[in-house]
Amino acid sequence: MSTGHLAPAHAHAAPGGFIRKYIFSLDHKVIGIQYYFLALAAVFTGMFLSLLMRIHMVWPEAVLPIFGTIKPEQYLSLMTMHGTIMVFFVLTTAPQSGFGNYFLPIQIGAPDMAFPTLNMLSFWTTFVSFVVMLAAFFVPGGAPLSGWTSYPTLSALPQAGPGQGLGMDLWVISIAIFCGASLMGALNFITTTLDLRAKGMTLMRMPLTCWAWFITAILGLLAFGVLLAAGILLLMDRNMGTSFFVPGGLIVSGIPIKHNGGSPLLWQHLFWFFGHPEVYIAILPGMGVASQLLSTFSRKPIFGYKAMVYAMLSIGLFGFMVWGHHMFMSGMSPYSAFAFSVLTMAIGVPSAIKTFNWLGTLWKGKIRFQTPMLFAIGFVSLFVSGGLSGPFLAQPSIDIPLHDTYFVVAHFHLIMGVAAIFGIFAGTYYWFPKMFGRMMSEGLGKLHFFLTFIGAYAIFMPMHYLGMAGNPRRYSQFTELKYLAPLLPVHKFITYAAIITISAQLIFVFNLFWSMAKGKKAGQNPWESTTLEWITATPPPHDNFGGVTPVVNHGPYEYSVPGASTDFIMQTDPVQAPTH
């Protein structure tokens, strides 16, 4: 299905002025960079909030500059905003909207996204959403405290706590706007992938990054609509007197609540119908990047390309059938736990296939240890560690003691937090030369890798032990329950590890900005990769290929082909040796 003939219809002239070129740009590359920097601002905000949380947990009396002493309700606001900012504005934004925007069109040989104006609109909508979210900090009552999951009735009733007034309204509005932006983005990604592939770029010749972005976009299209609906219902419950999520006969802070007939579980079903696919929205692009890099830097074709594609497709499909595993303790019918549990265990199978295939790719390869590869290897290690706690939580009987403890915190931070962030780092070190025309410092990159890799394990591995000991999550203090007292040294260790690991991220920021100005000039294909972004100039011209329409002759990972003159065959190279 090569539809290169569509391309001219979408080609547009390079813009003139500064504003059209860098602010309201229609160029997918500029929009990708805009998304990336939005996510960068968000990740540092989110990380800073987590630092304050960790300090408050172990030194509650500490007087911090500007903030003073953190109160328990402020701790919950920090936690809510940390989770929300990280999940939506970092893990959904950077790997998909950032790298996807920049590299999906180039990797499939298209001059731009299918709908450039929609693309610009979706970025600026996301930006507005982020501003509205941050505004929640500065309104009376402060930011909401009901967590990124915002379970009603806590989230539906302004009386339920400080931050549950205007702050909570802003939170819901921000999320609703974000849903709109993500739907626009998803439509654009899907259309682009289906319609704008270059001649010869069959679906089964797409790099696995493109498959990941494509499947993620489908998940986004199906999931964000549901969250949008849930958000609107919650907003109506809060402001228009409806009762979708609030039952009758409640009394909160001594005030009788005038609602009747709603169900708090309805929100949980809607939220997790979005929320579980969201986990895969965060991690699939990381899987794509890891696959691309492991193959490239092992100088070996990816092990089981088709299996990798089918594994991602089945993860996407199963991802919509397992939301109930977040709700084993919620009071939903205990019979449904059997179905959700079996399906959840089943989703472990394609995840395991991917891990085996990554190891199979390294097997008998010739590994080059440049920084992007280190982060890809780190991704595999973290994915394994975070993934293997899944089969504990997927079993309802084991979930009884572990649900809502630090074991869960450890699980999702390793797999959708740190592993996904490693995917982003890997992508940054790998694509930075193409995006900015210069190389990042290898020395600083390696230092950054080792500190972050060891630091991430030091922070999150001990959280499993806390969870096994029954330490509930979302506690601002561990002083009230006697059985938590002996665990305080573990919490202190985690806080120290967090301070060091977060500080180490300054190395990355320095490397990023210093290399933009002073880095070694990058050639067209510094990693000797095979995909289409490496056949064009660095950085790519406005129409990506300088007026040439690429024709694809090979699969994406043809490394070390016997009989070939180099150890890599570009996807556009003429046929010289039998490949896939």
């Binding site: 708090p264 205990p334 240890f369 029954g470």
Partner: protein, 266 residues
């Protein structure tokens, strides 16, 4: 670089595994279902632990062994037989674990002993306290109306117990949970404001208390002693201090305590 990666990955793997097994993290298990849950956790730990060790040690080994030394790469696009093998093995492992654990879940939820044999108990969560209600000699809970409740008065007033209801006359409401050892407890969980979660780590018991729902569960404490209750679902600014105590006592002591409460009430 290959050897540095090997060392770091292996070191992380060994240190993490050591702390999983070297220290007893779990609170002592004192309920009827707790040993089964712990057993299922142990089986899962062994299975996942083996996979964890093999995958991480393999990853470390491969990156070191296949570092670029100018060797020849084996050009291969994969191996369908191997794919089938590990897909089947993982499916058997994961689904098998799941099936083995299912009866434990079923036992706590579907096989309720007859109401006449078990102690009837109602647990109510509110920001930020737990209240426990026993039906008294008539074994029937009286009517409560949260809208009539007065949290500051505590006790039965906090639940809004309707004192005009005959069934309510002998209801006992307490802030500390007393339970007789070795007797099934048929618990009904409710909340009158936001979602809470009744969590007794030593019982391996946890269940959300949801506004608008009456959730039935059962458990049986099997060891005399004091055990802490926590709230496991975020319920507001006092979530971390919403705790309580369950005192498991002998059957005689429990009857004595209950008789005293009834006497006080008359």
């Amino acid at each position: 670089m290959g050897v540095a990666l090997l060392l770091v990955i292996w070191l992380i793997t060994f240190v993490s595994s050591y702390f999983f097994v070297a220290h007893k993290w779990w609170p002592t298990a004192v309920s009827a279902s707790a040993p089964y849950i712990d057993h299922q956790i142990s089986i899962t730990f062994i299975c996942m632990g083996v996979v964890f060790l093999l995958a991480q040690l393999g990853l470390g080994l491969f990156v070191w062994q296949y570092r670029d030394r100018g060797q020849k790469v084996q050009y291969s696009h994969g191996n369908v037989k191997m794919e089938m093998l590990w897909t089947t093995l993982t499916a058997i492992l994961f689904i098998g674990l799941n099936l083995v654990g299912s009866p434990i879940w079923a036992a706590e939820r579907f096989h309720l002993p007859p109401a006449s044999q078990s102690l009837q108990l109602e647990v109510t969560g509110m920001q930020f306290a737990w209240y426990f209600r026993y039906p008294g000699p008539d074994n029937k809970f009286g009517h409560v109306d949260a809208l009539q409740s007065d949290a500051s008065a505590g006790g039965e007033a906090a639940l809004g117990l309707d004192t005009t209801d005959p069934a309510a006359k002998d209801d006992i409401v307490t802030g500390t949970l007393y339970l007789p050892v070795n007797r099934d407890v048929d618990v009904t969980l409710r909340s009158q404001d936001v979602i809470h979660s009744f969590f007794v780590p030593a019982f391996r018991f946890k269940q959300d208390a949801v506004p608008g729902l009456m959730i039935h569960m059962h458990f049986r404490p099997e060891q005399v002693g004091d055990y802490e209750i926590a709230c496991a679902e975020l319920c507001g600014l006092g979530h971390y201090k919403m705790h309580g105590m369950v005192k498991v006592v002998s059957a005689e002591d429990f009857d004595k305590w209950m008789a005293q409460r009834e006497a006080e009430k008359q």
